[in-house]
Amino acid sequence: GTAGGTAGEDGKPRETCLDGRRGRGADLVCRQFFEETWMEPGRKKTGIVASNVVPGLRRVLCATGPPRSTLGLSLEWHQDIHTMDRWSKNRWESFLLYLLGAMKQPWKDEDGAEREAFKKMETLTEQAELVKVSRKEGTLTVTEKGFQFLLQQQSEQLWLLLQCCLMELAGKDEQVVTMLSLLLESSCLPPGAGGVLEQKKNEERKLLRVLSIMGLVMMETREDTLYFFTPMTALLCSGQSVQQQGAGVQGHRVVVETNFRLYAYTSSRLLVTILTMFCREVYRLPALFVGELNREAAKIAFRQGIKASQVVSFLRRYESSGNIESVLPENVVQQLFAWEDELNRVRLQDAVLYQDFTSDGALYESVLRQANESQHFLWKDGEHMQVVVALPAHRQISEFIKQSSSRGK
């Protein structure tokens, strides 16, 4: 229902008119607050209310404005949470796809500021060693750390990027504190809350622009004066509990069968791109991706730096407690680890072999002790008096041997 009232200064009771269409709750409220009510012709219920009650009553009945936040800040309010939620998820996906090289240009051509902000994020991710940027071709290649990053939980990913942001954007310690308090405030507020950009300090404004790339903050594009925190900010402080609640991650389902077939019920480009990192694509439909975990694809993934344990924990996130079909089969897990071990069948390390200690048992023992202390010891043979040490320790040990033999002479 809607309520309109006239505000006066003399403290006398005000008249408040209520529209006929209201629910039961409003009825109860009316009975509480109205001193007198009567039905007007045309289904308008009118009542007299004490003036000090009018603001609270308006809020309760209208339910469009926020209560004043407990943190004592003045808040702006975004009306449409669902659109905002969709926008922020889309934004996050485009950002990650851009990193993966699967999306060339997430920004519109005419939007210079957007492009700048994306380039800034690129630099940040490069500093975090997640991607390597080739300036000449303008392409991004994902590093080993980057691949591992892609398989992590979204909250971990967000915090890793935010850490880089804070280190990069903040010159002084006080600025870091301001920015951190802005972040923590965002996760405590209800979703859709926001504020006016001008009221924020310089470093907060920079941080907000970066956050808008990741989908955590939505800027009012027309005038760029308002900002709103999206529902994604809940992930900042909640850890993993939101995502591990059974029904799959945010509506996607991934099922792995004992014949190594993988079925992903999703239309998310990002999820499909990540799955193709370690499995072979069989079919790709608008809402379904069918893949197969085979030796070749798994080995390509392992060579790029992804660990089998990460693939397993990534797939396990999609297990749902009520559904026995969604449990990751044991044979698939063991086979993934077996394929990873195949790559480690032969281990090669740069090293130095010390031989011919000839009758100098004491020197052999002391070299052994040196090697152990330097943490570079690799192999020894007491019978033939041979020691193998990793290459970084070579200079130190050869110096030591020269000194000992010259002392002995």
Partner: protein
């Protein structure tokens, strides 16, 4: 007088070690890469041969693993 040799320490299981030794036998005397036979699971080889050894071992493992044919796509 202690002698220091620079190279690459190769750690593997006995089967692969035998394979690498065979590889070494087949090479001509000036191209032999095994500098020292340390024990059942360790070899000391020349740095230049390291990548070739890794590559050959992978091929050997690939040959001896059954792979389901990929192009049979049913249902």
């Amino acid at each position: 007088m202690v002698v220091a040799k620079k190279g690459v320490l190769l750690t593997c299981d006995p089967t692969v070690k035998v394979f690498v030794m065979q590889m070494n036998e087949k090479k001509s005397p000036d191209k032999k890469f095994v500098l020292a036979d340390l024990d059942e699971t360790h070899l000391f080889v020349h740095k230049s041969a390291a990548e070739e050894v890794r590559h050959q071992v992978e091929q050997f493992l690939d040959k001896n693993t059954y792979q389901k044919p990929d192009n049979v796509e049913d249902y």
